[in-house]
Point group: C2
Chain length 406, copies 2
């Protein structure tokens, strides 16, 4: 069961974005496992993708196509990741684009493919291609919830975020969906996210805004440190709500849109952690007082990845020795442990590298028993700060991942 509020908000229409879906029987029958996004002509699109060296065929093709032009269509299937599938996998990803391009009368490189599901099996390409016409037939501006549901694999809930905002008297929307039950089943839990707005934004800024927001959201969540072969995140700006195009970071609207995008993407990323299979707690790990962002991140991830910290939190055990140990082995050079402070929410557990004098197990246990908590570390040597989001490690994590594919 997901942690905290994961309810679907009202999903505002984004002018220039239509969504269709169909039952293609990629892996299971009676599932709308094929989703198509259509972007209006002139939409500027950017993408960020997995760093995994074994990235899947659709990731290769999407990157290639994005370099050539703004895409007009995204085609997404669940049930099969088309990863570890060699040349035939590449051909099938290309063929999917080609067939959709023919039907929609665009160029093949104007279609980006996405796949999520089991690794190492070939796509049922005939059924997938047969699903394209019915998916195109259902294209509609109001289908964001259908899309969020269609791209689910092991997710227990569809994931969406949406805001409406005004810039210079024009009302705009920003709406997005995500999937991925916490990267804890990479065979079925690729992280995918698609966000769109009808603000007019120059293409280079679309890419820049996506990169900045991804670094604060999808690149700051972890369930178990495993990175999928298919992770992808797309941001599209149609510009169809009107107004003058944002073409410079000096434009005050740039910062305002970036703010909305970061909030929407952070929500979409956090929803993945909240729905992490086996998760019973949502944990924010903030490291401040560092020399640079990198060392703050290294220590935050070291804590967030530690199975010992995560099992202690599952058990509501304020075992602060495990947190100190995780800070200590993060590999950060010249760490002066005597300057380190650690808090669980408002309770200081570690002062100047040792146990805080007024710390009590009761106070620690109180925070640890909450379903949401923050671990905050101050390195006491600089101004840098960063934050990572994670969940606890429960019996169910092992159960789910050990039983999977049975």
């Amino acid at each position: 069961m997901a942690v905290g509020d994961v309810s679907m908000p009202h999903m505002h229409v984004v002018q220039g974005v239509k969504i269709g879906s169909a039952e293609a029987y990629v892996r299971y029958p009676n599932r709308r496992d094929l989703v198509i996004f259509e972007f209006a002509q002139g939409t500027n699109v950017a993408g960020v993708f997995t760093q995994n060296a074994f990235c899947a065929a659709p990731v290769h093709v999407s990157k290639l196509h994005l370099e050539q032009a703004n895409p007009r269509y995204l085609v997404i299937n669940t049930g099969n990741a088309n990863a570890g599938t060699g040349k035939l996998g590449m051909e099938n990803a290309q063929l999917t684009c080609l067939k959709l391009a023919e039907l929609a009368e665009v160029e093949q490189y104007e279609v980006l493919p996405f796949s999520t599901g089991v690794i190492g099996e070939q796509l049922p390409i005939d059924r997938l291609v047969q699903g394209l016409p019915p998916a195109l037939d259902t294209l509609d501006e109001n289908s964001w919830v259908d899309a969020a549901t269609g791209i689910m694999t092991t997710d227990t809930t569809p994931k969406g975020a949406s805001e409406q905002f005004e810039l210079d008297g024009v009302t705009y929307s920003m709406t997005g969906i995500s999937k991925g039950a916490g990267m804890i089943r990479p065979n079925m839990a690729t992280m995918l996210s698609f966000v769109a707005t009808d603000v007019p934004i120059a293409r280079n800024l679309v890419q820049q805004m996506l990169k900045i927001s991804a670094d604060q959201s999808f690149n700051r969540i972890t369930v178990d440190g495993d990175t999928s072969t298919n992770d992808s995140c797309i941001f599209a700006a149609t510009g169809l709500a009107g107004g003058i195009e944002i073409s410079s970071v000096e434009d005050p609207r740039y910062a305002m849109v970036l703010d909305v995008l970061s909030r929407v993407m952070k929500r979409l990323a956090q929803l993945i952690i909240r729905d992490g299979e086996g998760a019973t707690k949502f944990i924010t790990v903030t490291v401040e007082g560092g020399n640079d962002t990198q060392e703050c991140c290294d220590i935050a991830y070291s804590i967030a990845h530690s199975p010992l910290v995560k099992t202690a939190i599952f058990a509501s055990d304020p075992n602060w020795g495990r947190i100190l140990a995780a800070i200590g082995y993060a590999g950060v050079k010249d760490l002066d442990v005597e300057k380190i402070q650690v808090w669980l929410d408002d309770v200081q557990i570690c002062k100047d590298g040792g146990a805080a004098a007024d710390y009590t197990e009761e106070a620690g246990a109180r925070v640890m028993s909450q379903t949401e908590m923050m671990i905050r570390v101050d390195l006491g040597r600089g101004q840098a700060k960063d934050t990572v989001y994670t969940c606890d490690l429960s019996y169910d994590y092992v159960k789910i991942n050990a039983d999977y594919r049975s």
Copy 2:
């Protein structure tokens, strides 16, 4: 329950090494929780210690004392790690050495202290000091098994390895003990190991041999990636069995003794994995065909740390996509996935970066159901090779670590 054969071998006496123990009531009553090693005058001693920035007080003191002289005594307590204990912790570690030095009539810096147990609590220094005389009273050459038992914390079995061998007509012994139920409870599972031989070896070579052997043993095991604040490994060469001192790596006996030491330490390290709490399988991860040792290690650890790979092995599920994904996110530059081969024992699961054509789930499942298995990866780009040892991730891992301290 430990995996495979973990029985205690015959522990050969090492001439010049005596061991005593006492009930000091550090944490629990009626436990011989205080162990003392006495080395004969002239023994050459070397140590390797945890890289954790939060290293414990006894680690600081041991390093300091080792720089000053060869130690004559080691004093080891279980039940309390004396870590995260600030200045008082340092004073207590020093006081332990001082009191033992007074009783044994040596210098304070000729004593090295070791502690393992809960983090963040002060040593019961009075009871510990009171335990020193009775521990000294029991010093005996035949107490290796008592020592192995005395230093246990959550270990389910005492861990020992011992060999007798001949060099130039002289018979020597190499005997060692270790503890640490797999670093899965760092509060109680510091890894400690003490190895001694009666071969005469120059001090600089003792250090060199220990470093080389540790890199093939204690530095190549992992249960969950967590590194304790107290990990320490000591190697002592008394020289008391006679013969000429080994003072050069050109001496053919150097390689022979190094071979014995590496075998003994590898066994002591593997015993820790076999006794990893919750472990049901012993896994050897070998990466070959790399450009250098570092990248082989990075990939081997990426696989060995992956909770997804470890849960799949627990479930006997040949989920090779998870292994490929772990190779892919190890951060090794310019990996050509099309050159990568992966085997589970003799079964090739991945050929040239994709599924091996003749691979069957049945063959994979057969290997995965064994209690001992090897994951072998060939990167196909160089001559380097390295091996890491680990265990699976079971329900019991979470149970033990979540329930701990309750």
